[in-house]
């Protein structure tokens, strides 16, 4: 069949234009695909831009409790400490917590202390900052297998507990983190029940190493590190050191704790750092110190055995993990 309506030569694209258009299209596809791939990658890669907005906290020297770091251990940078956080209420992505916790409201704040005590009371922010603050540089060992060295500012929890006068029936202390889904919208992906709860035996809570931290690097805590006040128990895995505390309750029995509720086979009540008791899914014998490429052997009780081992005398630590 003969074509009855041939394309008039005026409508045929000249070869030069055709090639130009082709070149243009190819360039656009190159640029578009490169931007899309790089952008997609970038949206998942870490963006550790950390602001230091804390205000200075005065501390007193503490000659009796010098830190016990080995000669080759360095204090981690503020960027590492404030840019890599497990705070599931904000995000399960450790590099994303800082940005998501940026607008978290920590003032006004109050910590209700009650339960089996003589004098239940609440502490507001000013009350907490009235305690004589000290600087304690502790190792911090996460159950996931990484660790840091952090210069905390705070005061021994025992001082606060002394003020409320625990009753003789009290054997344990329960802690609770602030929880507000409006301020923590991503908490619905956390996969754990909230509010976050933790607990210690009373003798652990009264131990001089156990700190209520209000700051680090000489300034008030960044939100992502548990502002305005958090627990620090240096010989236990990091998740025991509960953040942004709003409730402290003295009890006569072991309180429930978030991670052992979520997975009792993997996380126990004690959760002492112990290189000889492995997590069911990974070894705890070594740890990756943030800022270093190699791995370090994990120390018994995170290097604080001399101070705390007596608390667990006679206990089977592989059963009470």
């Amino acid at each position: 069949m003969k074509d009855s309506s041939p394309i008039p030569s005026s409508e045929v694209t000249p070869e030069e234009t055709f090639l130009n258009r082709r070149f243009f299209m190819k360039s656009a596809i190159w640029a578009g695909s490169t931007l899309a791939t790089a952008g997609l990658y970038r949206s998942f890669s870490p963006r550790p831009e950390v602001e230091d907005t804390g205000t200075a906290i005065a501390t007193v020297a503490e000659p009796s409790l010098q830190t016990t770091l080995a000669a080759d251990e360095r204090v981690n940078s503020f960027t590492d400490i404030a840019g890599y956080n497990n705070y599931y209420e904000f995000s399960t992505d450790k590099s994303a917590v800082a940005a998501k916790a940026k607008d978290f409201v920590t003032d006004p704040w109050s910590v209700q202390v009650g339960g089996l005590v003589q004098k239940p009371r609440s502490f507001d922010l000013a009350d907490l900052l009235k305690f004589e603050s000290v600087e304690r540089t502790y190792r911090f060992r996460c159950v996931e297998g990484w660790s840091m060295v952090i210069p905390w500012v705070g005061f021994p929890l025992s001082k606060l507990l002394a003020m409320v006068e625990p009753l003789s029936a009290a054997t344990h202390v329960a802690f609770e983190t602030y929880y507000d889904i409006k301020q923590m919208p991503d908490s619905r992906y956390a996969g754990i029940d909230l509010p976050y709860v933790e607990g210690l035996r009373l003798d652990e809570a009264m131990h001089p190493l156990t700190l209520l931290a209000t700051g680090l690097y000489g300034k008030t805590l960044p939100n992502q590190n548990g502002a305005p006040v958090r627990l620090v128990v240096p010989w236990k895995y990091g998740f025991k050191s509960i953040k942004s505390v709003v409730k402290i309750t003295l009890m006569d029995r072991e309180p429930p704790t978030t991670w052992s509720l979520a997975n009792p086979g993997e996380y126990g009540f004690y959760s002492n750092v112990n290189p000889t008791v492995d997590h069911p899914r990974w070894s705890q014998a070594h740890e990756r110190r943030i800022g270093e490429m190699g791995s370090r052997p994990t120390l018994m009780f995170n290097g604080y055995a001399e101070q705390v081992a007596h608390l667990y005398a006679g206990m089977d630590l592989s059963a009470d993990f």
Partner: protein
């Protein structure tokens, strides 16, 4: 102008974009911008990229059948090899940083940790596929046998998603996302094969 016929252009485009994440990881690493825990980041990123390229590989057939994008078939081998490439990188970070090159401990680790076993199983399934990806091997095996062998990709994808699911502590959002996609891609194949079997069977009426 017909872009769907420009195989050379597709090849360059896929080659470049597949390599781009690896290049960005290397550049970020060089600049010390991989975050506080670079080892954990690289391990996770290469693992996720392996799954991404496995999924892209599995996406080729549905896209051809549904949209007629047959030109994609010529790029499938490259996508599969990228899955293998990122899988090798993932395995190397594990061997270097998790095992400190103590290769004799790998067997014990596989035995002890089910998620390591799942990952190793999925990786090992990719090895024969990478080896038989050359034209010569396709010819040697013959089309149907080659296609049969390369269905191992399905098990690699399933094993890879389970491996990811088994390592997260509590937030399964990402593993769930990958599980949904792999289920859809494999489910589509099941539905198609059932339809085909019905179509081939003699009609009852």
């Amino acid at each position: 102008m017909n872009f769907s016929a420009d195989t050379r252009f597709h090849r360059q485009l896929f080659l470049f974009n597949g390599l781009l994440p690896a290049v960005l990881i290397l550049i970020d690493g060089w600049r010390g911008k991989l975050g506080a825990n670079p080892v954990e980041y690289v391990t996770r990123a290469t693992g996720v990229l392996t799954l991404v390229f496995l999924i892209l590989t599995l996406l080729v057939t549905p896209l051809r059948k549904i949209y007629g994008w047959n030109w994609l078939l010529k790029q499938r081998r490259l996508l599969g090899l990228y899955a293998f490439f990122y899988g090798v990188a993932h395995l190397l970070t594990y061997l270097a940083y998790d095992r400190d090159w103590q290769l004799q401990t790998v067997v014990g680790d596989v035995y002890k940790r089910p998620f390591i076993a799942l990952g190793m199983f999925s990786f090992l399934l990719m090895v024969p596929l990478a080896v038989t990806s050359t034209n010569a091997m396709i010819k040697k095996l013959g089309g149907p046998r080659w296609a049969q062998l390369h269905r191992l990709t399905y098990y690699t994808a399933i094993g890879g998603v389970l491996h990811y699911w088994a390592i997260v502590k509590s937030d399964v959002t990402y593993p769930f996302f990958f599980a949904v996609i792999v289920t859809l891609l494999l489910g589509w194949r099941v539905v198609m094969s059932i339809k085909k079997a019905r179509g081939a069977a003699p009609r009852a009426l």
